[in-house]
Symmetry: C2
Subunit: 454 residues, 2 copies
Amino acid sequence: MFKIKFLPYNLEVFASPEETIIEIAMRCGIHINASCGGAGACNKCKIIIEEGKVKGEVIDNNFYKACQTFPLSDLRVRIPVESYIDKRAEFLKPKKKASFLSKEIEKLPEPPFKKLYLKLQPPTIEENFSDWIRIKYTLEKEKILNPELNINILRKLPYVLREKNFEITLNLYYDLRKDRYYLIDIESGNKVSQNLGVAVDLGTTTLQLELIDLNTGEVLASISDYNPQISYGEDVISRIEFAKRKDGLKILANSVKEKIGFLIDEMLKATKKNFDSINLISVAGNTVMSHLFLELEPKYLREYPYTPVTTEFPLIFAKELGLPFKDSTLIQLAPCKASYMGGDIVAGIVASRMAEEEPLTLFIDLGTNGEIVLGNREFLICASCSAGPAFEGGGIKNGIRAVSGAIEAVNIDPITFEPMILTINKKPPKGICGSGIISLLANLFKVGIIDKAG
Amino acid sequence: MFKIKFLPYNLEVFASPEETIIEIAMRCGIHINASCGGAGACNKCKIIIEEGKVKGEVIDNNFYKACQTFPLSDLRVRIPVESYIDKRAEFLKPKKKASFLSKEIEKLPEPPFKKLYLKLQPPTIEENFSDWIRIKYTLEKEKILNPELNINILRKLPYVLREKNFEITLNLYYDLRKDRYYLIDIESGNKVSQNLGVAVDLGTTTLQLELIDLNTGEVLASISDYNPQISYGEDVISRIEFAKRKDGLKILANSVKEKIGFLIDEMLKATKKNFDSINLISVAGNTVMSHLFLELEPKYLREYPYTPVTTEFPLIFAKELGLPFKDSTLIQLAPCKASYMGGDIVAGIVASRMAEEEPLTLFIDLGTNGEIVLGNREFLICASCSAGPAFEGGGIKNGIRAVSGAIEAVNIDPITFEPMILTINKKPPKGICGSGIISLLANLFKVGIIDKAG
């Protein structure tokens, strides 16, 4: 075993000579960019060996590739700034209404999770139905027929019913596509007011979460952070490759679930809300991200003819995914449409209501992957392509993400052709990000250096 | 700690002075009758202290009540024959058709569990639906819409589908009352022939099980044994009382589940059938037995106004109940009608088809509890009462179960009034069982010793 010290973190760990530097970094939570998932192709995981001997290939300026380098002695390893990104979660100022709504919509859609307060007649010798049948008959009056229920509810039912003299609050989930109700939990007394939900935009690069009052639709907090799966590959293809390794799928799933749990906790702390009030976590992500989240085999999405395991997801309890919520916290995933047309787009179409209206609408989701949908209430057509990293990493030697120091705007003097650049946070330039490239291309075109053919 | 030796078993265990003899016996698997659940009321748990000192009340002939007696030293305890029963499982000669059918019925009812073999078209680039949607569309052609499914099926789906080139067998459960399908499991290739079910008559005193081929309805094996919950109380009321103790409900549930698992195993061994072919375990018991089996609180069944937790039971996986079957083995419980009109009677009415026919039928189930149902296709009325132990134990000092040595027939000489008795297995008389009491009463009436008023 060798002692490996990571800088600038000042973190020391022990490692065997069979582990690559990137593997060692991963298991101690240090992020190193790796667009290709550790295949040695992208050259993004550059590290500097400040002390000690390694086995590995030297690339430009005495850098090593962390994914191809093994320790031969104790080491001091520096992660240069371009090999990591700032991981700090970012609180966003919450809007009063759900932020996906581009225009004011008076009436929010009915949430699938609702609480129903019931004041039941206590049993008498003339009407001594069983506890459950008493509830079932009452629900039938509300047009809720034959809800699914589970044994845990029955096990606590008699105590909960009698705690507040047969006043109870039912937690119900309604599946619109199946027109089916699920009885998720039962509480004593009137607990209708404790009804929080979390919306999760499960992006390939970024997670964005909102804490929502499911009774009013009010957004109570908003937070965003990187998807920690970036450590295992920047785009969906590299992550599918990573998932093929032993425990790869589990590692990917756990990392993002852990981060979501952490971000929810942060929002609850900031708003002083009760953890146990979280009833529903609603997740929308592209098809690959949805597969990785649920630990569904993603590899056939990469192999001809590119089939997902599923584009519809069953209702699942958070605890079944190992998330630290109460037993009855539910997780729903937005359904996907195809291999590369995910639940995030479906959620966007639903939220924008473009499929309900007459005017032709063009919906563009430009993230790590890009999708566009064109249509109205009569038709919808869609297409998808690579986006972010395709500009930042793919063919561009100095392409980087939109971090401090990335060139985000370029102007070219039409006479002298002298470039003028602007970087993010006005820091010394470290590389060029997607919007910088678009700006550069536009200006190259404007001054006549390149033409329509590129 | 004292050393306690149980005779005639020659079993020695250590025990603390805080444990009653019946508690010590229970934890080492020795059966002592206890009609009242250890309340000290029934005097059935008589033991003889052959050696050592105890704290406890001496009853007739130097017996002690095991439920009220604590050790004060090392002991030699004898369990007299009337305090235990033979626990050996009994194989029955299986009938070719399900034994609940009193008359030949040509067409058996459709079982709720079926296997469906599908040969799917493998995906092409033109038709690259997700794996699940491919199955779902095929099921829709069979009029099976939106079945419930779970994440475990999705996790193995892509491998199972590709193992035999998209030939699969679906395991489906159909809930008639909800008109809803559940996808329980998926297997590669054609596995339709491996489809066994077990029917369990969950009696208060006796368990009777049948191993059934769900494709043909053929009964492959039949077995019966005592319900081991007898050790904790002979009738439903004593067991409800026992369930109030710490872990009492769990102990009752585990004891009967363990015995059912054991009896199924015995039937499989005897028929050389594969354990993993068991897909459905169908249980019918009275309302209290159903509650104890599922660990549902039974105490409100005893308290005014006598309400069960539920009379309908959700579908449940055997593994959720801790039973050692494969992940997809299902358990269904027959629905009950009321607190003392259980699933066993409902199952009997369904099986006899009395509710479909014109002639008025009287259906009698005489067990530890007795229920009668009168009716036809137009109406059904029912009533219930105590039966077996009400004769054997309740008010009868020498009442015993129908064990060897129990008086089962009595004749009285009409001139001398001299009685003549017959015992089971012609052993010296130890007490009188239910049929003996009926025989005695009939003869007392015949010779004019008692009249209609008793």
